[in-house]
């Protein structure tokens, strides 16, 4: 119980002492305890030039488009207060101080299921985030990496990303690599940053015929039995509430 603060005539402030009202020890009836309902938190983590310009390029809102499409699907859950999404930059999820400020402060309790969708450098740093948060006792339910990038030494020098290759920890991990038939300049930039070629680990590891920059298409393209990563994420969230 929070103590009440009063100010006297001289301007000094004092805290009034308060006591809890205790239950009579003879009262053995069952007491209702308020429990916060399950809430799904989805972090959409963008890469270079997504949320902020990157060396004068962008911002393009790559993963913002994926987030907007997914928010629309979760309209009902959101209205009930059971769904929340965040748009973060890759540089906002690196380092304990930033993680505390931009991520942990959103999470009401440690058993709350966390879903991460990371694109490009956001996939790289998002994958690191799953490991860190898992080590801290958080529940990492799903990781979706959309054409993750970060292997290159040059991109490591010029960007706020982890140097070592990630070792993700999540109940489910979907990795999608962009393999466009018609390449555009974003694919050259991704090659320059060196894509993270994931050979083992994900529960689903697939290719999609679109360019690196198109995070929305990577997220909504059919990848498994006609289902997209967006569909699989939706199913995982609904399973949580069933």
């Amino acid at each position: 119980m929070t103590a009440e603060t009063v100010t006297c005539a001289k301007g000094n402030t004092y805290k009034l002492h308060k006591e809890h009202t205790l239950t009579d020890k003879k009262d053995v009836s069952a007491k209702p305890v308020p429990v916060e309902s399950t809430k799904a938190i989805v972090l959409f983590i963008g890469g270079a030039g997504d949320k902020e310009s990157y060396y004068f390029s962008g911002p393009y809102g790559n993963i913002l488009a994926a987030r907007a499409a997914f928010d629309k699907r979760n309209e009902s859950l959101s209205a009930e207060g059971r769904y929340r999404s965040e748009w973060l930059g890759y540089n906002e999820v690196r380092g304990k101080q930033d993680i505390q400020r931009y991520v942990l402060s959103l999470i009401p309790y440690k058993s709350c299921p966390i879903y991460i969708v990371g694109h490009s450098l956001g996939g790289w740093n998002g994958a690191h985030l799953t490991k860190l948060m898992s080590d801290w006792g958080y529940r990492m339910q799903m990781l979706i990496t959309l054409d993750p990038v970060g292997e290159g030494a040059l991109v490591w020098i010029g960007s706020d990303i982890y140097r070592q290759r990630p070792d993700p920890v999540a109940v489910e991990w979907i990795n999608i690599k962009a393999t466009p038939t018609n390449r555009n300049s974003s694919d050259g930039v991704a090659d320059f940053g060196e894509k993270w070629i994931v050979s083992c680990g994900p529960s689903l590891n697939v290719n999609v015929d679109t360019s690196h920059a198109n995070a929305l298409e990577l997220f909504v393209a059919p990848i498994s039995g006609g289902n997209s990563a967006s569909d699989l994420l939706m199913a995982a969230i609904m399973k949580e509430f069933s």
Binding site: K51, E52, S53, Y54, Y55, F56, S57, G58, P59, Y60, G61, N62, L64, A65, A68, A69, D71, K72, E75, S76, S78, A79, R84, E86, W87, L88, E92, Y102, L106, A153, L154, V155, I157, G158, N184, S185, S186, V189, S211, A213, N214, A215, L216, E217
Partner: protein, 172 residues
């Protein structure tokens, strides 16, 4: 040395950010209708904004949004956080017939956005009435992003506030 090389490369590349060849689209408002918490805004344009490169719908583009200013901040630039807005993706609303304008639909959330642009919160009916009560119309613009191009912005479209308030205040 490596940092210098990367900076030089990226600065050189940034100089290549191109302007769109298509003119800024003129938007005309058609209708607004609330579906639970989403507001379906229909509008027409004189430019196919989902095909700015004449390669087919959504080809070459990254993101396309319609944003309407609900408060007094009318800065629509992608880098800025507009505190009170109606915002959603641009979707096609049927194939245009020859000579007709292009029709689009945006299912917009009416939200308050945090200053760092990370979080959004639905605005309540009371808050929306407060925000819109002294306005006769609200300005809207769409933007489309594409890698290597400057952000494409349309001209401003105005939505009559009375139509929006009717939907906000209609029974559930």
């Amino acid at each position: 040395m490596s940092r210098l090389i990367i900076c030089v490369l990226l600065i050189v590349c940034s100089g290549c950010a191109k302007d769109h060849s298509k003119p800024a689209a003129n938007l005309s408002f058609v209708s607004v209708k609330r579906e639970r918490t989403l507001y379906d805004i229909r509008y027409q344009t004189d430019v196919d904004v989902l095909d700015l490169f004449d390669q087919g719908q959504r080809k070459g583009m990254i993101a396309g949004f319609l944003t309407c200013a609900l408060g007094d901040d009318h800065d629509f630039s992608i880098e800025k956080a507009m505190q009170f807005s109606a915002v959603g993706l641009i979707e096609s609303d049927g194939e245009p017939r020859p000579g007709e304008k292009f029709s689009y639909l945006t299912s917009a959330f009416l939200v308050e956005t945090s200053s760092n642009r990370s979080s959004q919160r639905y605005l309540s009916r009371l808050e929306l009435n407060d925000l819109l009560s002294n306005k006769s119309q609200i300005p809207c613009k769409l933007f489309v992003t594409a890698f290597g191009y400057k952000t494409y912005y349309s001209n401003t479209m105005n939505i009559p506030t009375a139509e929006l308030l009717r939907e906000i205040n209609k029974p559930e």
